[in-house]
């Protein structure tokens, strides 16, 4: 665990609001600047959807929750009967927020860490979700925020075995706000292809003005059989 987080300027600009906000609003989604609780549940549902947690599995999923805040993901997992399905680590950068997380979930693991300076061990997780970390840039410029997003994703990518999911604001909105980070789909795709993987899904189908971006190391599972009348000229070539 890293205890002496010397916070980079961009992260300081990103997180300075939260301490005061948690005091004002209490430990609620509003306290970490979300407009309402049901949308946060929707976001978690969408980001976790590639894991099919409800479908069961032999082992818990080793899950990294980057930007865990006061540990709301654990509330969501518990409410939906999924807590046993994950082997959880929450990571964040401010003492105040993490204090709430540790107090609320004393039996779970949390770490203070800027993963850009102190990357997590390679392949130490199955999957990572990064929820609400990249939506608001506050006083960071777009370029500063893009650098923060890309450096963070590259570091997290090294520590996950199968993939990651995160959300950003969409460009496909009626208007953009100066303090939000709207990342064009093609810019995100070009980055993912170059530094993470080209197996990417963009979900804009859950009614919020954002995009959930899911990146996987391997392509989607194939379940379809190949019609026999298609095969002759392929078997020679690919041995399929």
């Amino acid at each position: 665990m890293v205890t002496d987080v010397s916070m980079q300027d961009d992260l300081e600009r990103l997180t300075r609001e939260y301490g005061a906000s948690l005091s004002t609003h209490g430990v609620t989604p509003g306290g970490v600047q979300w407009p309402n609780a049901s949308d946060l549940a929707t976001r978690y549902e969408v980001l976790l959807s590639p894991l099919n947690l409800a479908g069961g599995g032999a082992h818990p999923v080793r899950l990294l929750d980057l930007g865990c805040g006061p540990g709301f993901l654990l509330d969501y997992l518990q409410t939906n009967g999924l807590l046993e399905r994950v082997d959880y680590l929450g990571v964040d950068v401010t003492e105040a927020t993490m204090g709430h997380a540790r107090a609320r979930w004393p039996d779970h693991r949390f770490e203070l860490r800027d993963v850009r300076l102190h990357p997590l061990p390679a392949a130490s997780f199955d999957y990572a979700i990064i929820c609400g970390v990249f939506n608001v840039r506050y006083s960071n410029t777009h370029a500063q925020m893009q650098a923060l997003v890309e450096e963070t994703l590259r570091s997290v990518w090294m520590s996950v075995r199968t993939g990651l999911a995160f959300n950003v604001m969409s460009k496909h909105v009626d208007w953009e706000r100066d303090d939000l980070f709207h990342w064009p789909l093609d810019t995100a795709m070009a980055f993912c292809r170059q530094h993470l993987s080209r197996h990417v899904t963009f979900r804009l189908d859950y009614g919020l003005w954002e995009t959930a971006i899911q990146v996987s190391r391997i392509p989607a599972v194939r379940s379809s059989k190949v019609p026999l009348n298609w095969l002759p000229d392929d078997t020679r070539k690919s041995g399929a």
Binding site: G207, W230, K237
Partner: protein, 249 residues
């Protein structure tokens, strides 16, 4: 054919960034080119123009049908737009998929003759959606598999106009949603007769003209992506919500 709907096909959308002048997309010419494939290669994926391997062509059917949402009532009325030899229906039967009421549409009389011979119980349509006199019934879900990959020597501008016209028309006969695939910009090689579209350009058009509710899948390992557009779906089941993570409010 089924009873005609009263639905009026929408206006042709204005192209985003190009003059409307210039040759129109010659889709009738493409139909003839596809029929030449059927003659040469017979009833296989190559016979409907694919040059990828058979496993990849089969994967496209799987991906198209994965856009059907669990909460939709069954049977789902499915239109295979540009059905070719109806390989999607063959896929549905081979996989034993239930709850789908399949219909096909194609402009090629040769493919349709083959389809009707193979699947006499299936409804097939031969109308041209871009003909203003065309009347088609409404379906729940319409898929366009491989309609936009091959542009022959049509210009990119004409092909993009054609895409927009067709998607607008398809949207009007798809009650719940539709899906289409298109070649990605993120590829290792290009060929001048193939059409590549930036994801953002498609997303802009869909969000501005058709629906805010869509998903782009570039996750199945082919050099293309599939866009699922929903008129209904996830959003329906959600409570009305403020949508910006905001310091305001």
């Amino acid at each position: 054919m089924a009873e005609p709907s009263s639905k009026v096909l929408p206006e042709v959308p204005t192209p985003l960034s190009h003059e409307t002048a210039g040759a129109a997309f010659d889709y009738r010419g493409l139909v003839a080119a596809m029929e030449a494939n059927l003659l040469q290669y017979g009833d296989s994926h190559r016979g409907v123009g694919w040059r990828m391997n058979a496993r990849d062509a089969a994967l496209q059917h799987q991906v198209m049908l994965e856009g059907i949402l669990d909460e939709w009532a069954r049977p789902v009325r499915l239109l295979d737009f540009g059905c070719g030899a109806s390989h999607l229906y063959q896929h549905i039967r081979d996989q034993g998929l239930l709850g789908l009421e399949y219909s096909g549409l194609d402009l090629s009389s040769q493919y349709l003759a083959l389809c009707r011979k193979k699947f006499p119980g299936v409804a097939y349509y031969d109308q041209d959606l871009l003909d203003s006199a065309t009347e088609l019934p409404t379906f729940d879900y319409v898929v366009l598999n491989g309609i936009f990959h091959y542009k022959a020597d049509n210009s990119n501008e004409a092909t993009w106009r054609y895409c927009q016209q067709l998607l607008t028309g398809v949207s009007a006969i798809a009650a719940k949603g539709f899906a289409f695939n298109v070649r990605s910009e993120y590829v290792d090689w290009r060929w001048e007769y193939l059409f590549h579209l930036p994801i953002g350009q498609v997303a802009d058009f869909i969000a501005t003209n058709i629906s805010r509710n869509f998903t782009v899948r570039h996750d199945y390992g082919l050099y293309e992506y599939t866009v699922y557009v929903y008129h209904t779906g996830v959003r329906e089941n959600r409570p009305a919500a403020e949508t910006l993570p905001a310091t305001i409010g």
